[in-house]
């Protein structure tokens, strides 16, 4: 009798914890919304999101430069990381010998755990000077090195391990017989990979990319250290930028005396949060569709 009572009680307790954890997302959205309401009630949303006038002391809070900064940096990260990671995962999963794979896998997992400040330190030491002294002059531009390119590349490097880890797992889960079928018909390895393996693995590969990019999207410290933090809309990858997370990290907590400032920064956090939610929902809907189409 006592055992069953215990069982019931524990079940009820667990249910409560589970419900609460499920509600955290909404609590956060609600909390951020309530805190950003004071700026939302004074300014139209369109002005806040699409104006590039950022003058907190004059009460102007246009978030556009920061939103564009985030998009630029994420786009550069995507452009660098997606093709490289796909090719590398294909190599490690399809071509490389088992021993090389066994060597590379723990290294990649280890690097997935390295904190972002460490990547930031590396970028300040190596990447920024490289861009300043070699890459920018090569394109005939002068740049301090602290730029969209530096931020994007460090993000790409940070998400390499995430994307590669998941992609390899997905590629390995394609049944070996599927490859045999294609090879037995006289296809080359590459044809087999392109027409059969990637096709079968597509939903998983897309999920891996979404996972990596959503991590890149909100990444703060490493980007903050190398992106220059200038509140303007960048016009090339060698310009500095000021992504949303960097804005929040730099300004929040220090300028609470300026009216509406904290409210505007929490609006920035809300924008990030909703973007993450939207990406998650979209990815889920899309993946369900793709999966239906293939199988």
């Amino acid at each position: 009798m006592i055992r069953r009572l215990k069982d019931r009680l524990a079940g009820a307790g667990m249910l409560i914890v589970t419900l609460c954890s499920g509600l955290i997302v909404f609590l956060m959205i609600l909390g951020l919304y309530v805190s950003s309401r004071s700026v939302l009630s004074l300014k139209p949303l369109s002005e806040l999101l699409f104006s590039s006038e950022w003058h907190p002391l004059r009460g102007e809070f246009g978030l556009l430069p920061f939103i564009m900064g985030t998009l630029w940096v994420t786009a550069v990260a995507a452009a660098v990381a997606i093709p490289l990671c796909l090719l590398a995962s294909i190599y490690l999963s399809e071509y490389a010998h088992r021993r090389l794979r066994a060597l590379a896998a723990p290294l990649i997992d280890l690097l997935a755990g390295i904190p972002s400040v460490v990547y930031g330190v590396w970028a300040v030491l190596i990447l920024v000077p490289l861009i300043k002294n070699h890459i920018a002059p090569f394109f005939g531009v002068s740049s301090s090195g602290y730029s969209v390119l530096a931020g994007g590349v460090v993000l790409a490097v940070m998400i390499f391990p995430i994307i590669i880890h998941v992609t390899i797992e997905v590629l390995r889960s394609v049944p070996q017989e599927m490859r045999e079928v294609s090879l037995a018909l006289g296809a080359t390895c590459w044809q087999t990979i392109r027409l059969v393996v990637l096709r079968k693995a597509m939903p998983g590969v897309l999920a891996a990319i979404v996972l990596g990019l959503s991590r890149a999207f909100g990444e703060t410290m490493a980007v903050l250290m190398v992106v220059g933090n200038v509140a303007m809309i960048p016009s090339s990858v060698f310009d500095p930028a000021y992504p949303l997370p960097a804005l929040i990290a730099n300004k929040y907590g220090e300028m609470l005396s300026v009216p509406l400032y904290d409210s505007a920064l929490l609006l920035a956090a809300l924008v990030l949060m909703l973007a993450v939610l939207a990406v998650n929902v979209a990815a889920r809907v899309f993946l369900v569709r793709v999966e239906r189409g293939i199988r």
């Binding site: 307790g13 914890v17 954890s21 090719l87 590379a104 703060t220």
Partner: protein, 283 residues
Amino acid sequence: MDSRKLQENVFKVLAAAAALLILLILVLILGTIIAKGLPALSLSMLTRTPQGGYYLGREGGILNAITGSLCLAGGATLLALALSLPIVFYLNVYARKRSRLVSFTRFSLDVLWGVPSIVYGAFGFTIMLFFGLKASLLGGIIAVALLVLPIMSRAMDEVVRMVPDELFEASYALGSTRLETAFRVVVRQALPGILTAVLIAFGRGIGDAASVLFTAGFTDSVPTSLMQPVATLPLAVFFQLATPFPEVQARAYASALVLTVIILVISLVSRLLTRRFTKHVVR
């Protein structure tokens, strides 16, 4: 025929080059941190707190940040574990499979997984302001626990989901309640995975800077109370790097090395534990 061969070879070389490039960059990162950090590392860095004028290049160490980070990440991991276990047990033992609540909880944990740590920091700080709390170890623990909760619980969930149905059936057939099944059978079967999840969460917690930026504050002394501000390694790296003095910047590299070594150790321990604790696992 020849164009097929050509294509095959071109892509094979491209793929190999990409893999090599990525592995090289990753090795380069470890190499840079070691090469820059090791010369600046000394015993006093590890055993002393910052003395007067430390950030101008005078003597002292980062003991405050090392102990602070360990306390903070440890506390956050325990808190997250206390929340994760009930969630995972509820989802996999108590709830009906494919119920709305289960898929909803998994989805919302996935969303949380993707929420940037700076948002946790900002949100946590807002809550603390609301309750009139100041930046403290407790605030940091709560923010980091929120950050690692989805990581830990989803990782555990994946492992516990793999526990074969037959094992549940065997346990129920012996007259066990669901609670007993959860703690005696499921935990034992999924132990390696649970430990790995805990270590991953600890590693993520100790490395994150953005969530503790406002919630934990920073201090030059070793933490003594939950209500005091606390220093953390990532922020120590960040602040030291931001000074204009090369000696202090060198200490930032050394601090980054310390942080990296901690992560390395966690990763190694998790590998060893996984190997060690698989002996009771039914395959």
